[in-house]
Symmetry: C2
Subunit: 291 residues, 2 copies
């Protein structure tokens, strides 16, 4: 079993997710864990050092990668390929590379072969956890408690590596699901990217012409639009990286809205009631919160 | 000042809102408050009696109305007119009638003249508080804590009555805003009815074809679709009662979604980023939570 315990962890880019993994790993994997953090800039490293969470926090990639059993890419997806190219020369045999990106198809298709060609293994991860705040300042050790983490192994992924990654996320208190990258991207488009896009559209439709309406809001509006506060740059990347599935889900949502609009237009109370009842039944059927 | 203190309260229909007003009034207005509750059926009255919140809980309307300084209509909007016709003969001079309906234009236009013709006063109220659960079982005394309550007086509303009603909601820990019924309906369409309708459309687009996607959901999906669990009957009524404003807001939201869809379709990252940044800025500019 000890082969499944991560004892030497490298985290690249200590933002909200990378930083939260650091705090959670320190909390749950104990003081014996060796934890090294790389960042491209010194500003973030100062905060990491001040927090005391890492054994090493440096811009020296080799120093962070050498000897790590698990390397986690926590930067935005567009930077990952270049990062893996830079780290592969320092990566020991038996080391595993994963990421925390919100889109898995292009990541797995790019990083999988890149690592395989160097005799190393990449398996994708997507912890379904976040915050509308970004950066290491917002990182916290309980961010993953009870959250779902989706792994996207391929038929080429060694079973031991998948088990090791599963153990790692479970040790951070996640519930782990495995599916292929395409299924991940299709489902996550619908349950994460779509609600984000729609929350932005609703915020604009509700407030752009008359922001004074914001003075009346109740908890319903706050909850339904909370995710629209997320960082615009990052979300523009995500929606474009998962473009085909996001388009399909936005098209479906637009069709549903037009169906609803027709019921209201035609004062079709029974049609409207059935539409709302079906939605309420689906929403109420979500699995209970894991914790 | 004592003329502004409600000491004899009648609540008609002890559902989520009526019941919560009862608990909050008992909590905040003290043991000297005389609190009487009417319901059309005995089932709800048994629960009210078991809770001990009311001095009287009965199906006898006259017994509840006689001597009340403030009568609160807490049934669905479609039943209000008939209710007011039935209660007016028992209503003392100086008594004030209000409601808690989510739509104010038709309510004020109907109940205002009905009460005025009988020499009594109606002023509309809309506490922006709720729950996805319905019924007296879900009622609680802190439902209104720090929430906004919108009053919709007309130019005919006596200032003393408006002040009395404002004092009442403030005593229940609400923040009170006044605006005319049309402004209320326009704003509330955008910040309450629209998010509800959209949450239903998103729930259907996300889960109807493949409910297994629900197994992956994170907090973002839960929050953005929470309101879609509300009672379908009640929400079908609300959307149709505020039909013109709901149609306008749904049309705007559909146009925003199509704008977003075009940015994704055209891989226009800068357009998408600006769209999301504008939404994030509007959402982040909401006033802080009052409590």
């Amino acid at each position: 079993l000890s082969q499944f315990i991560t004892s030497n962890l490298a985290i690249l880019s200590p933002g909200l997710l990378g930083g939260s993994i650091a705090f959670a790993a320190r909390r749950y994997l104990g003081a014996n864990l060796s934890l090294r953090v790389w960042s491209r800039g010194d500003a973030a490293l100062v905060k990491v050092r001040d927090s005391g969470v890492a054994d090493v926090a440096t811009t020296n990639l080799r120093e962070v990668i050498t000897g790590a059993d698990l390397v986690i890419l926590a930067m935005p997806v567009p930077y990952m390929k270049e990062m893996v190219q830079a780290l592969l020369p320092h990566l020991s045999a038996g080391s595993l590379v994963t990421d925390v990106g919100s889109v898995k198809g292009p990541v797995v298709a790019t990083l999988g072969p890149l690592c395989a060609d160097a005799g190393r293994v990449f398996v994708g991860s997507h912890p379904m956890a976040g915050d509308d705040k970004a950066g290491f300042e917002a990182a916290r050790g309980d961010l993953f408690d009870g959250k779902t983490c989706i792994l996207t192994p391929t038929s080429d992924s060694p079973a031991d590596d998948v088990d090791r990654l599963r153990c790692f996320w479970r040790s951070l208190s996640c519930r782990v699901l495995c599916m292929d990258a395409d299924e991940h991207d299709r489902k996550v488009a619908r349950i994460s990217h779509l609600p984000h896009a729609v929350a932005a559209a609703v915020s604009l439709a509700a407030l752009a012409d008359d922001p004074s309406a914001g003075d009346c809001v109740g908890q319903g509006f706050r909850d339904s639009t909370r995710v629209a506060q997320g960082p615009a740059d990052m979300w523009a990347d995500i929606l474009l990286e998962n473009r085909a599935e996001v388009l399909a889900s936005l098209t479906d949502a637009t069709a549903r809205l037009q169906e609803l609009l027709a019921f209201v237009q035609g004062a079709d109370k029974e049609g409207l009631r059935q539409f709302l009842a079906h939605a309420a039944q689906l929403r109420a059927s979500l699995p209970g919160l894991p914790l």
